[in-house]
Symmetry: C2
DNA sequence: GTGGCTGCAAATCATTTGCATATAC
DNA sequence: GTATATGCAAATGATTTGCAGCCAC
């Protein structure tokens, strides 16, 4: 367990487990915004016995601790992002793929609105992604 | 069925049914952002035989036709809004309530980003609403 | 008339939960 | 040693789907 992920967990006061490190390592630098089940499928190859429930439980823990960000634009399932800085996303309604969007947003400076205390901002653009546009009508998944 | 909702449906080329009019009438001017099940519960009082499946099917139809807007920030369930103009929402993570937010957003002028065609913009602020703040820690639902 | 809509019930699928065991500290 | 995490399987809950009868047009 001598890796920086263990340090990351300790810094948050979380018990260090193989599963948590595996999730963090898998997410680190991953730009695909995987769902809980995607993560489970990927880690299952390496750790055959890892449980889906453990993935779900840990995602809750890691999001609560601010180590991961949860993306809720897909009505079918939640997606996760290791990029915890506030940034917007583009959701393709054709291929259901999520893309990061690098746009500065002036809304991020608000601390509250109408008396409600803002703790997080999520911005989503929905439409057809460039890959699906290029593929013409119908599906067509990137790459 | 001599009401403006029937005209609204006809204008979209949709067959006019009692259930669809009921949904539109219930949603019209409703600022509560009800879920599919909320809508079903409310209409069930008036139309005892209305089916949950009909509500779900019609919500898909009405959203596709642009007569209602779907709000997907609540991981537990979808919410609906008769205000189809693009506007942002505040989601209280304590009481799970949705509020409209009247903030002009410069992002709305974008037609595309990174080559992806933007068809819709959804902006969410998450945090603790003023009612829950006033109620102190813990739950507490508005009004 | 005919195709689309409704209502019912069963099916689906993401996510949660209970519990016994195993592990971190 | 004890509290917490894990893994399994069953439970939950929103949403979808199949199908027979009904209604809009």
């Amino acid at each position: 367990m001598i890796c920086d992920k263990a340090e990351t967990l300790k810094a948050k006061g979380l018990p260090v487990t193989v599963q948590r490190i595996a999730i963090l390592e898998y997410m680190d630098g991953n730009l695909d915004h995987p769902s809980a089940d995607d993560i489970h499928a990927a880690l299952h190859e390496k750790y055959a016995s890892i449980s889906r429930a453990t993935i779900y439980n840990n995602l809750v823990t890691l999001v609560s601790s601010g180590l991961l960000q949860e993306i809720d634009i897909d009505p079918e399932k939640a997606h996760y992002d290791s990029n915890i800085s506030t940034h917007h996303h583009f959701y393709c309604t054709v291929c259901k793929h999520l893309y990061d969007v690098a746009i500065a947003c002036p809304q991020l400076s608000h601390r509250d609105v109408d008396g409600h205390r803002i703790e997080q901002v999520q911005g989503y653009f929905l439409g057809t992604c460039r890959t699906c546009l290029a593929a013409g009508t119908g599906g067509g998944h990137h790459a």
